[in-house]
Subunit: 404 residues, 2 copies
């Protein structure tokens, strides 16, 4: 539509400087070919979507509540769904939430955006794991904070490193963490580390909020679900972000936050200005779905399928990757993390592996302060075991070439 | 969940200062009683939702595209829907858009939020009509701009007042206008005023973007749809915001922006950080609905029903309101605007009229710089003609008491 010659120079805000189309996203566009073996996305397997049941529920919602489901609704979200979420949160994650602690969001990504909006002035500090979720970096970046990465190992965030960071850094407003099956590493914090984390934050004197992002917590392949940080919170400091994208379907774009009631009110105001409310019909459908069908059973099925895929990937890596490569072995979730030897550039590996029909995401962008170009994130949830074996074999060959 | 004694003081960003729960919203909560005659909301009439057709389409989408419709999708939005929107925009609003000019948004409210995010640094200026849409004030406020109201009369924004404002005000980044059936006034800009507006902006030397918010444009009761500002744009300066909330159903939360292709890319990046994408299943359903059914026919029905309700309200006002009250007579849309004599406080009128079972929205909050407490917005789309007559009669009596 634009006449280039006469075009205005759009008067962007400063923050737009930091919004760049990702180079990696461009490379990955070619990976949408159906013959590509993709370890790149974070997609649940659509073969596992309960399409028949959704059709049934969709019919019921229109029949019973058509007018309400298609009308504007409150920003907070559909009350029966908030009650169901609170009940499940309390049972699975040990919180003590009621419907007034819950706000329905347009995916849990919106929980991140609203967090940035509520807490971050330009130049404020976000403390996060190293590495951390790329979507959180993007959401927070719009509010122009500084990022401080805290060393995180296989047991979780290092408490001593966190203590030092909180003592050193001014204006820490947000401490953003993913204690369960982290994106991108697949790591899970031990119970001990969770307690230490909460102690360090409390005793540091900071008034920062803790954002506990938990998109994958129910997808545990082995062992017991560990207490959430929210369940250990006695100060109204933890905001828990949840989503139906992984245990139900992402296409609905429905997530939630759990927060202290007074804090939730602020999130409600911020959300109202952002998109009024999340789709009423989608909320009603999910609500009725959760009432009618056995969610535990569905999630048990997902756990079983994804657990086998993790096994397939870990097994194939042991067999096909060259020596000297470290990787995580996640107890749940969708991702594992690979560290190539220093000096091997995962972006270059990607260019070659895409040529071989295998895609993944290089790990560099998950570090808000840069570096770590020798890392990669592999997703195993949306590939059959056979394709995983084939893809890892090809990827192993490409990595070998790059390690010469 | 919070233990008040030990609670942290949340470290909110400065912008949260401006986010307040609206006092009027609190009053209006009592108006949700079913016996209340409400002129307060901006709701389409749910009796007119095509529920049967939606059920049919919903079944088809799951049958044909279940997996894709329930999976993550691109931020830009479903391409066939973008093509359909572009076609309709070009036919109805005279634009020259293609699918690459369109971004699907989570309601057109999100278009406002993303506009604030892309253009507004703290202290920048937003120029708007006086009065203007409350939701836009709220969306932009999160980015801490100054608002400058420009005098607007029954023909549209005053070009001379706009010229002066643009000459006087520094850092005007956004000029926000609603030329068709404005919320809250119901006014429509004349063709002449549209041309003058574009000329004044162009010749002023500002590089501000123009946000043309058009939620109601197709709901015209008489005369012809006038050319959109977007259709007059030769600089890539106008961003058009559209929505399915008024011509289809609000519960889906699907709107769109039309912008220059390069500018749309920035909106895509901002949206990606905000909520990844708008519900895939909702986009597919709307897309198939628009393919299968005659939208023009559905909109013609809405026009006819809402037009009669406008007539009913205008007629009742003539009969029942005391002398000395000015009001608009909208050619379309959902609202009309009432100016009580100076000194009569519409908020006090509301308190009394709610006691009589009639609700409306006082006009003050639609003026970002304050004042105008003697104004009120009346919605006529979600009330039968009988209820409109009854409500206006009661409201007239209350106003009479306040004018004594």
């Amino acid at each position: 539509m634009r006449q280039i010659d006469k075009g205005v120079r759009w008067p962007f805000a400063d923050r737009v400087e930091g919004m760049k189309a990702s180079e990696i996203r461009e490379i990955l566009k070619v990976t949408e070919r159906p013959d590509m073996i993709s370890f790149a996305g974070g997609l649940p397997d659509p073969e596992l979507f309960p399409i028949g049941r959704i059709g049934e529920i969709s019919r019921l919602v229109l029949e019973r509540f058509g007018k309400e489901a298609l009308q504007y609704s409150t920003t907070e979200g559909y009350a029966p769904l908030r009650r169901t979420i609170a009940g499940r949160m309390n049972r699975v994650f040990g919180t003590r939430a009621g419907e007034s602690n819950i706000l329905l969001t347009s995916g849990s990504q919106q929980g991140l955006d609203l967090t940035g909006k509520l807490f971050l002035d330009k130049g404020d500090t976000v403390v996060c794991e190293s590495p951390t979720y790329l979507g959180a970096i993007q959401a927070f970046k719009a509010y122009e904070p500084r990022f401080v990465e805290v060393v995180t190992d296989d047991d979780g965030m290092d408490p001593e490193a966190l203590r030092k960071a909180l003592a050193r850094e001014p204006n820490v407003k947000v401490i953003y963490v993913i204690p369960d099956f982290q994106n991108p590493t697949g790591r899970t914090w031990t119970l001990e580390r969770r307690k230490q984390f909460m102690d360090v934050v409390r005793s540091s004197g900071t008034n920062a909020v803790i954002i506990e992002d938990n998109a994958y917590g129910e997808l545990r392949f082995e062992g017991e679900i560990l207490p959430s940080l929210a369940s250990m919170d006695e100060e109204g400091r933890v905001v828990f972000l949840g989503t139906f994208s992984k245990t139900f379907c992402p296409g609905y774009r429905v997530g939630w936050i759990v927060a202290d009631e007074a804090l939730r009110e602020k999130y409600v105001l911020a959300k109202q200005a952002a998109d009024l409310h999340t789709s009423s019909i989608n909320q009603r459908e999910i609500s009725l779905y959760l009432e009618h069908y056995d969610t535990d059973e569905h999630i048990a099925m997902l756990r079983s399928v994804y657990g086998k895929r993790r096994d397939a990937m870990v097994g194939a890596i042991a067999e096909r990757f060259p020596e000297g490569i470290r990787h995580t072995t996640p107890q749940g979730g969708l991702f594992l993390w690979v560290e190539l030897p220093a000096g091997v550039d995962a972006k270059k590996v990607l260019l070659d592996s895409v040529g071989q029909g295998v895609a993944f995401v290089p790990g560099g962008p998950f570090f808000p302060c840069g570096g770590h170009q020798n890392t990669m994130r592999l997703n195993y949830s949306n590939c059959s075991e056979e394709r995983i074996a084939e893809g890892i074999a090809k990827l192993g060959s490409v990595i070998k070439l790059h390690m010469r």
